[in-house]
Amino acid sequence: MTALPETTAKKLGLVIDLDTCVGCQACATSCKEWNAGGYSAPLSDIDPYGADPHGTWLNRVHGFEVGEGTNSRSVHFPRSCLHCEEPACVTVCPTGASYKRMEDGIVLVDPDTCIGCKLCSWACPYGAREYDYIDGVMKKCTLCVDRIYNKTLAEDDRVPACVRACPTSARHFGDLSDPESDVSKLVADRQGYQLLPEMGFNPTNRYLPPRDRRDKQMDLAEHLSQGAFAPATGTRPTSPPENETNVTERFFRWADKMLTR
C-alpha cells in the first residue's frame, strides 16, 4: 500500500553533524558491509576490479567547498535516505513495494515486490535510492532495520551501522518525534535543518550546520590575550607550579602528559 500513514508512532532518523564529520568514509563502508549481508542483500558491484567500477551504495559522502578565498572551507556531506514524512518515492510506486512504516516512520522497499521501474528514484530529490543493476530492484537506506531491533546484538550495537562506525560521533540516531530525545535536543541546540524543505517531502533526518570558524568566534586580540597561541607545554593553568609538587604529584603529572599525547 503506497498511501502514506497519517501519523507514525515514532520518527526514527539520523542527525548528521557537518561540523564534526571528517569525511573518512567509515559510515559509507560500514553501511555497505552490513547491508550487503542484511535486509538489502545483495548490494551488487559491477566491474569491481575493472576500468569502470560502480555499485549500489546506500550512503555516500560528498565533499563540498563552501565560501571563497580565505573564507572557504571544506564540508564533508554524508547523504543517505532522509526517511521523509511525505515521501513521493512511496506514493509513485506502482506495486506497493515502497512503503512507510506506521510504527517508526522508516521508508523501506520490499525486494520481493519491486519490479525495478526506477520511478521512485526519479521522484526523490536527494538521490537516496540506488537501483541494483544485477538484482533488478531498487535499494535504499533501511535505517538498519535489521540492527536496531535485533535482540541478538549487544545493546550498544542496536543502532545503524553508519552511526556505530562514525569515529567522530558526527552521526546520531533516535526518535525525532520525541522533543525530549537526545537527537531532538541536539537539533534544537544546534539549529539542525532539513534538506530542501521547499520540495515539500518533510525529511525526518536533520543536518547540523558547521560551527563558525574559531577566528570568527572571537577576534585575534582576544585569542592572544587568552594565550590561545602560547606553547602548549608547561603552561596549563590547572597544573600546579613545579616547585610545589612532591614525587607522587610529579609522577601523576608525567603520567597525565604521557596519556594525553
Binding site: G55, W57, V66, V92, C93, C117, C124
Partner: protein, 315 residues
C-alpha cells in the same frame, strides 16, 4: 535524464496506437466509419499491435519484467499504476469491437457504447503517461503544464497519420479526416514550440547552496564526488546534453514531426490523386522519426534536482 530506448519506444509506439484507436472510436461515434468496413478493422488491429508492442517495450525497462503484473496494485496513488490499469481496461472495448467487427449491425447503435469507452480509455491512458512525468517536482522541465497536453496531441497526431495511410490503401480517403489531423499537427507544433521556449526561459531556482543547506556560508562547489566512477544516480539522472546540440535536434525534430507531414497533408488536400498514398506514407515515416527525436529530447533535456549534489550549480 537518461533517455532509455525502451521508454522512448513505449511512449511513442503506444502513443500512436492509442491515437489510432481514438480516431477509430471517434470515427464510429460521428459516423465517418461504420462497423464491418475493412479499413476500420485494420486500424483497430494495427492500433492494438502498436499499443501491445509499446507495452512490451516498457516491460523491458523493468529490472524484473516477470513481476510486471504487480504494477496494477497502487492505482490510488501512482500514475504509473493508473496507466497500467487503464491500458488493460482499454483492451476490453477494443477487443470486443474487434471480435464483433464483422457481425455488428451498423443500424444497431449499441456498438457506440464500446466506441465511446475505447475513445475515453485510449485518451485517458495517454493522459496517465503524461502525468507520470508531469507530477514529478524533482524535474523542472517535466513538472510543466504543457507536458501532458503535448503527450495527448502528439498521440492523436501520430495515430491520425496511421489512419490516413490505412484510408489511402483502402481508397476511402476523407478530406475531413486529413483536415482534422492537419489541425492537430498544427496544435502539436504550437504546443511543443511553446513548451521548448518556456523551458528555455525557466528560472533554475534550485541551487547547490539550497540542496546542501550551506548556501548561507558562501558559494557551494562540489570538491569531490563520493566515488571515482559514476553511480546509478549519475548514470540515470545525470544525463546532460549540450544546449547547442539540443537546439539542432529540436529543429530536425520540428521539421520531421511537423513541417514535412503538414506539407504532405496539404499536398493530399490540394491534389487528390494517386500520389496521395505516397504523400501519406512519407508523412508517417517522417513523423515517426520526428516523434522519436522529440521523445529522446524530452528525456535528454530534463535536468533532475539531484544533480546539485553531483556538481551542478543550479537546477
Amino acid at each position: 535524464m537518461h533517455p532509455a530506448y525502451s521508454v522512448i519506444f513505449f511512449t511513442t509506439l503506444s502513443g500512436a496506437g492509442y491515437g489510432l484507436l481514438s480516431w477509430l472510436a471517434l470515427g464510429l461515434l460521428v459516423g465517418t466509419l461504420s462497423p464491418g468496413a475493412i479499413e476500420g478493422f485494420i486500424a483497430l488491429g494495427l492500433g492494438l499491435v502498436l499499443v501491445t508492442t509499446g507495452l512490451l517495450a516498457s516491460a523491458l525497462h523493468l529490472g524484473r519484467p516477470e513481476r510486471a503484473l504487480k504494477a496494477f496494485a497502487e492505482w490510488r496513488t501512482s500514475w504509473l499504476s493508473r496507466e497500467g490499469v487503464l491500458a488493460v481496461v482499454t483492451y476490453i472495448p477494443a477487443t470486443l469491437l474487434g471480435l464483433l467487427w464483422f457481425a455488428l449491425d451498423p443500424h444497431d447503435i449499441s456498438y457506440l457504447l464500446l466506441a465511446a469507452l475505447l475513445a475515453v480509455g485510449a485518451i485517458a491512458t495517454v493522459w496517465c503517461t503524461g502525468m507520470i512525468y508531469a507530477s514529478l517536482p524533482t524535474i523542472r522541465a517535466w513538472n510543466h503544464g504543457l507536458v501532458t497536453p503535448v503527450y495527448i496531441v502528439l498521440s492523436l497526431s501520430t495515430g491520425g497519420l496511421f489512419l490516413i495511410v490505412i484510408r489511402g490503401f483502402a481508397q476511402t480517403t476523407s478530406s475531413a479526416e486529413i483536415l482534422f489531423v492537419l489541425a492537430l499537427l498544427l496544435v502539436s507544433w504550437g504546443a511543443k514550440t511553446t513548451y521548448w521556449s518556456s523551458i528555455n526561459r525557466a528560472q533554475k531556482n534550485w541551487t547547490a547552496g539550497a540542496a546542501t543547506g550551506l548556501g548561507h556560508l558562501g558559494k557551494v562547489r562540489l570538491l569531490e564526488q563520493p566515488h571515482s566512477q559514476a553511480n546509478y544516480v549519475m548514470r540515470e539522472m545525470g544525463y546532460d546534453i549540450a544546449r547547442k546540440h539540443a537546439d539542432k535536434l529540436r529543429q530536425i525534430s520540428s521539421a520531421t514531426l511537423f513541417v514535412l507531414p503538414i506539407f504532405c497533408l496539404l499536398f493530399m488536400l490540394a491534389v487528390p490523386n494517386a500520389f496521395g498514398i505516397l504523400a501519406a506514407i512519407v508523412a508517417l515515416i517522417s513523423a515517426a522519426v520526428g516523434v522519436f527525436m522529440e521523445r529522446w529530447l524530452f528525456f535528454a533535456e530534463a535536468q533532475h534536482v539531484v544533480t546539485l549534489y553531483y556538481g551542478a550549480q543550479t537546477a
